[in-house]
């Protein structure tokens, strides 16, 4: 008597393989339009605590963010892709190297239409998975290392110690933009939109321990951006 269970599972496995093959090859055959974007954006976070002494002073580029994104056209009016905004500061805190960064990462769905030849109006929406980190690199002496060094007739040395506190938070983003094609493969784009973030100062981690982070206001950020798009 044939083992129907084994036959059923092997048929199902073949089906999954066939389905996966069809999905993968359909992407290859479907003449995709892939595009990448590099841009800068302006936003207005309220860094509160970071604006006070002894933190580094706010720079000119404090409100600027760098952006890159990759999208893939899945339909005549739709692209899906990944977009990342980065805000980064590097300075001195009490004489030590201090770095702060916030990365806003989005899986975006972008719908668009052409009201005129060469001119595209697009609408982007997507969830955000963001991360923040604050790192400090300090120079210090450690007695055990000093003792070891002295064993070999060395004088005491400064050790560089670096660590960071991190957080992850969710959000949503949406924007409306216009793209003008200079060449079929090159375009300039401007967008206006926002980011709605669910940041909490109580959800930071440092060496696997829950700690409190800085009190900053990045909950609802307006966003204006300009970028260059290269794609096929």
């Amino acid at each position: 008597m044939p083992n129907y269970r084994v036959i059923f599972y092997s048929v199902m496995r073949c089906r999954y393989h066939l389905l996966a093959y069809l999905i993968l090859t359909s992407f290859i055959i479907a003449q995709p339009k892939i595009s990448g974007r590099l841009g800068i954006g302006y936003t207005s976070p309220d860094y509160k605590k970071f604006a006070e002494s002894p933190f580094p002073k706010k720079g000119v580029f404090e409100n600027m963010m760098l952006n890159f994104s990759f999208t893939y056209q899945v339909y005549s009016n739709v692209r899906i892709g990944y977009s990342q905004w980065s805000s980064f500061t590097s300075d001195k805190y009490e004489g030590e190297d201090f770095k702060r960064s916030f990365n806003y990462r989005a899986i975006v769905v972008e719908t668009y239409f052409f009201p005129k030849k060469k001119l595209e109006v697009n609408f982007t929406i997507g969830p955000l998975i963001n991360s923040g980190s604050i790192s400090l690199t300090t120079k210090q002496t450690i007695e055990a290392w000093d003792n070891l060094m002295e064993e070999f007739d060395n004088s005491e040395i400064d050790l560089s110690v670096s660590d960071e506190m991190t957080t992850t938070f969710l959000g949503i983003t949406s924007s409306v933009g216009a793209r003008y094609y200079i060449k079929p493969y090159l375009a300039v784009e401007t967008q206006i939109g926002f980011m709605e973030n669910y940041y909490s100062k109580d959800k930071w981690k440092f060496q696997d321990k829950d700690i409190k982070g800085p009190d900053i206001n990045i909950e609802d950020l307006p966003l204006f951006s300009f970028g260059l798009v290269y794609g096929w």
């Binding site: 030849k117 929406i125 060449k183 079929p184």
Partner: protein, 112 residues
């Protein structure tokens, strides 16, 4: 890293060693003719290296500038025709996005 370079080298060699059809005029390659008729987007990503090579060979031929301009123009027209208006669910996504941006700025401007 070494493997990556080896694979890249093999890929480049394969792509570069593809014999382009010698038709006398480099601008008459099948891919360029296809792009001229249907726009650049009709060229598949896999055909892209060959298309770029063909364009590079074509650039010194007579009337190549005119040809490139025609291909570009055809591409703009095809893009425009293809995505002139929203189709199906795409309009819903656009409305959602536009409405959320509008509401966000109205709330911001009203000071709440």
């Amino acid at each position: 890293m070494v493997n990556f370079f080896l694979v890249s080298l093999v890929c480049c060699t394969v792509v570069m060693s593809q014999e382009s059809q010698q038709t006398g005029n480099a601008c008459q390659s099948p891919l360029i003719i296809k792009a001229k008729k249907e726009g650049m987007r009709s060229i598949k990503v896999t055909e892209l290296p060959q298309f770029v090579i063909d364009l590079w060979s074509c650039r010194k031929e007579n009337n190549s500038k005119k040809l490139f301009k025609r291909i570009n123009e055809k591409t703009y027209i095809e893009d425009y025709k293809m995505s002139q208006q929203f189709v199906g669910f795409t309009a819903t996504c656009a409305y959602c996005s536009a409405a959320s941006v509008l509401i966000f700025y109205l709330v911001k401007l009203s000071g709440n």
